[in-house]
Symmetry: C2
């Protein structure tokens, strides 16, 4: 990152706000020496916390507000009554160019609704989607949508595929990401018509992605593809099922190591190896749900994360901005539009 | 089980057929001393295998056919051309009363299509569903549908809830199973309209089940409810995601124990505890996908299972028959119909 990048932070969102937000920003600042921070929230609570953070000295400012979005506020409520909230003001900072990215650990539905209203969607993108990175047998993959759109048409899915593959290229560093459409069978015959239509379009699309075709639930953790594309209902269920299953096996493991004296001693010997595994599968490592397709970079941190997790969400946002994530999406959407209407190619730019 | 029960087996379905089928039946016979077996398939291959199994002596007969359903046959194909196949003849045996249950490790789509045609659906059940048992933090739960019905309406989901809760009572032995509808948020506002409608009906239904409301993906492995109800698309993705995630963590565990000498020694010490865990999470333990809602008991075994896994699928089928699974569904559907149309209660029986 050569030039400086300003990060707008909703200092009041999430279970540990504002402490976790300020501590997370301090960690992020160490990783991104050109980052500056705008904190939106209660000055009386933020200022004393900031004063303790040397690394944020001179690169942070506070925009005071005592209003905040409730963690259980409905998106519509937040839109109507939330103009003065820390979340909304942080998004506004990206909207009017004072910040390059916004990160919030607050209410996801409110964040998406406000971000859509303020930042609008990118040209050619009908609906933004929520994406997340997760660990696989092969490394890491990205999946979208994770809940922004319960029902999706084929166009939505194709656009998600574009956004997911641009993310895999710019943030995960892959040259030609493999993209799969989540279905219930790898045979062409199965699943919804919408999926078949989306598959046909992706197969024909002149995009720098490797369309793998349909994948099934087990392909998600297997890492069969780098980008898993699905509607928000299925994606949300799949992600949460995977998280819950990981928890179940961690619990099985804990019980197993406690089940006998021999097993306890075995654990003591294997502990350092297990600490490495814990790092590898640490949910904080995968913290940060990206709201893709908006006219500005917006990342949602898990509400229950700690400072390290929050710093990781900030890092994803910074990576997206630095790697010109949105510009690349715009370019690919132009390519896609040109392929769909070859006659209008001169106009499409 | 007091009276004898005849089990019809598709001896030619699955990767290890017919060897696994005959070996599995021999194990099942030891568990169910009143069971008899009808094997449908190639006499020349089955007879020598049967001759070696003392436990099946005098309680097994072979119905010869050389036709079989291909593992990649489409359901429609199997329906049209499959009248003489081992799968179809095994189903026919239940249809005409020669057998009480049928088990096949063959093609799921063909099995469902043929079973629907021959056995029909139970009164009040619009569509059969595929169900399976899986391990959770609290023990075991059952989920349906797992792929028979890509799109479901509220009636379908209510019927799945009835079938799943009857299964949990009769086979898992629960008195009043907790039933949850899979959704992407526990708040009433989220998810499809169909889910809200199904939830309202289940809340009002006079059934011996405890309707918990909506559950999310993480609730599946957590065991928040005993019965998870969802459409076949979502259920299939969730089940396969859970299976794939379990595999991912088993692989992480394997790598961790191999990553250092200390970890290897630790594994040796903890090995017997891990063997117990392996038994607890053994996929063979959960083998057997129940085709519920048909006018006869039909269980699908995993095609790649071994004799123990196949025997478990047979055991589930036997349990369902012995515990009058289908009769109880009929009774509850009458109750449900009576509640919906109180005036016609005299006619409903």
């Amino acid at each position: 990152m050569s030039a400086s990048l300003t990060v707008a932070l909703d200092a009041m969102g999430g279970d540990g706000a504002p402490e976790v937000i300020i501590a997370g920003a301090a960690i992020a600042r160490e990783r991104h020496p050109n980052a500056k921070f705008l904190f939106f929230g209660d000055q009386r609570r933020i200022a004393p916390l900031l004063a303790k953070r040397k690394s944020l000295d001179g690169v942070a400012s506070i925009h005071h507000t005592t209003e905040m979005v409730g963690s259980d506020a409905k998106p519509g409520q937040a839109l109507r009554a939330g103009r003065g909230t820390s979340m909304r003001l942080a998004i506004d900072a990206v909207g009017d160019g004072r910040a390059g990215v916004v990160v919030s650990a607050g209410n996801t539905g409110a964040l998406m609704a406000m971000a859509k209203l303020v930042l609008k969607t990118l040209p050619g993108i009908h609906r933004p989607a929520i994406a997340s990175i997760f660990p696989t047998q092969r490394g890491e993959s990205v999946m979208l949508d994770l809940g922004a759109n319960v029902d999706c048409d084929a166009d939505n899915l194709v656009q998600f595929a574009v956004m997911g593959s641009v993310f895999a290229r710019t943030v995960l560093g892959l040259l030609k990401p493999r993209v799969g459409l989540l279905n219930i069978g790898s045979e062409e015959i199965k699943g919804h018509d919408i999926l078949r239509l989306a598959a046909a379009r992706l197969r024909a699309a002149p995009l720098p992605l490797d369309f793998h075709g349909f994948v099934e639930g087990n392909d998600i953790p297997a890492g069969t593809v780098d980008v898993v594309v699905t509607d928000g209902f299925t994606g949300n269920v799949a992600l949460k099922t995977a998280e819950g299953t990981a928890k179940l096996y961690a619990e099985f493991l804990r019980r197993t190591f406690k089940s006998s004296l021999m097993a306890k001693v075995g654990y003591l010997l294997a502990r350092s190896a297990f600490n490495k595994l814990r790092l590898r599968t640490d949910p904080r490592r995968y913290n940060g749900a990206m709201l893709l397709g908006l006219g500005g970079v917006c990342v949602k941190s898990h509400g229950g994360t700690d400072a390290i997790g929050f710093a990781n969400a900030v890092s994803v946002a910074v990576d997206m901005a630095v790697n010109r994530f949105n510009e690349r999406i715009k370019e690919e959407m132009v390519e896609l539009g040109r392929a769909a209407c070859p006659d209008s190619s001169a106009v499409a730019i």
